[in-house]
Amino acid sequence: MTDVVIVGAGASGGAAAWRLARAGFKVTCLEQGDWVDPNATPSLRADWEIARQTTHHPNPNVRAARQDYPIDQTEAAIKPFLYNAVGGSTILWGAHFPRLRPSDFRTRTLDGVGDDWPISYEELAPYYKENDRMMGVSGLAGDPGNPPREARQMPPVSPGKAGVRMANAFDRLGWHWWPADVAINTSIYGEGRGVCNNCGPCDLGCPNGARSSTDVSYWPQAIKAGVELITCARVFEVETNSAGRATGVVWYDRAGQVHRTNASVVALASNGIGTARLMLLSTSRRFPNGLANDTDLVGRRLMLHPTGMVTGRFDEPMDGWAGPFAVSILSQEFYETRPEHDFKRGYQMQLIRSDGPVGTAVGGYLPRVPWGAGHHARFRKVFGHTSSLTITTEDLPRPENRITLSDTQTDNHGIPAPKMTYSLDYNTRAMISHGIARATEAFTEAGAADITSQSLVADAGFHLLGTARMGADPGSSVTNDKSRAHSVPNLVILDGSVFVTAAALNPTSTIQALALRAADALIRDRSELEVAS
């Protein structure tokens, strides 16, 4: 018997485990993946770009590693992008680390769309601060686009040649831009962690430990604090008693043996897909439609941040293969609702560096280099000469965008796979169109030629949000403002599933701040928690 069993050792699981163990809770964490050896990263090998297309592909359906589960994506306009390991998807993330804006918590009140959160930016701010300290953030105070806050732990990453060009262009256009907040060490920070050497492919892992991931930030501290972390442990059911209280979880070990871990509190931290899947799998007489699913909201309101992309080619080399690939500068000029727009809410533009030879040829930021007679001429023209702006849009929740259980696919234990059903609405498409036009304007101002755009980047399902939303009303939400299920008071949801709206930026710092807040609420309420007798 443990006090808290946490399912998932990623961004949120690591943060909550650390917090709870330091407060004296006996914590067990079950992770279906394993530790990733930073010294085995493909970026130490000459064939590193092949790994990106195969063994380290962000889509688990392509990667198909032993620890992965398939995701039925047949009805999803955006494909999944996640990782299963200690560290979760922070193993392959770009480490963008912005905070939500205050207005993101009040979209219904301010703009008449989405729903208000039951908490405010101000309530979350101390947890953002604590999380920044644990993860280590480089960036710069003074951004007029966000509320004032303290200095970051480290100075910003280098903007690179393209970043300087685009910053100057934004200035001439009179648009907001600012160095990105990034969970990457630009100087020594954290125990045993090094400094970024601008190698480029953060997504393949960081042998220096410069790019923060929870296996190098939270987990060493959590284990020191006494957390028991069990890897290669695939949880397939949360068990409940007749009163509807969670009693523990059942899981397969790496040899396929079934185990049961009983706990006073069950905490789910398996991302917006995995957590919804596990809740839907956990049926009982009390919860015939899935755990805590009285409202039929579990799995619904899936939000993914549809992303458009514009790429500009400059005549002179930008050397964009150098520097952390996903982070440089960003613009939030069009983040908020404006009366002249034909959409509500807005988007962020984020400058992305360019790619290596394989990535350039296969395509991603740019259209694929065509095969045939003109192949090398096109490759010469674009390689190392481009940069891109992503248009990350607000993704307002819709019930038809959802996670269900697949009728046709199972994982290697025979457990039904999750199925993504996801489409874009008019508001989102209008935002992307607007963003593409503005990003094209910015590249033109910067002197780029040969500007191309993608109206939707399909392989960009990396922000998995909203499938067990929080709220004050048990009739229209799954958890309360402490991230505890209304109908199962000893069930906590720690990951992005609890998001009420998605905002228009990278969610990891908010996911972790919410997890720390949920952990603090458990610590505070410890003596009066309703647990299974």
Binding site: W48, R106, S120, D143, P144, P155, N197, A361, D481
Partner: protein, 137 residues
């Protein structure tokens, strides 16, 4: 089968053709790329290698339209193996300065961030919107 590979990536004054690099064997023995390659090979007409380059390209366009998933798999495989081949990365290094060594452990040099860059945006007024004060009563 070099005719297929050379149709996809022909050589020029700087770059070798894909078929000249032994990629047929590499594709056939790669556990991730073999299936798509074999599927496309099965679709090639008899005597493909004896056709003109234009006719071979026409066949490939038709196969790409008919079997887009396999064709995509083939392109990912061919481009991945070609652009990580030592003969090709040496050409890229000579033409662009992009090093043939892997990204780690040496990394790359970049000019650090300088505060002068933010002089203009730092002077702008607040852009974020005020929100009603939160009330949990």
């Amino acid at each position: 089968m070099n005719a297929l590979l050379d149709t996809l990536i022909p050589g020029d004054d700087d770059f070798p053709s894909a078929g000249s690099l032994g990629m047929h064997e590499a594709l056939l023995t790669h556990d991730r790329f073999r299936t798509a390659y074999e599927a496309i090979l099965d679709l090639l007409p008899a005597g493909f290698a004896d056709l003109s380059i234009q006719t071979r390209a026409s066949h490939m366009i038709e196969i790409e339209a008919r079997e887009p998933d396999y064709f995509n798999g083939l392109i990912v495989g061919v481009y991945s193996l070609y652009y990580t081949h030592a003969d090709v990365t040496l050409v890229i290094e000579r033409l662009t300065g992009h090093t043939t060594r892997p990204p780690q452990p040496e990394g790359h040099l970049l000019e650090p961030f300088t505060h002068e860059l933010v002089a203009i945006p730092a002077g702008r007024l607040s852009l974020y919107r005020p929100t009603p004060e939160y009330d949990d009563d």
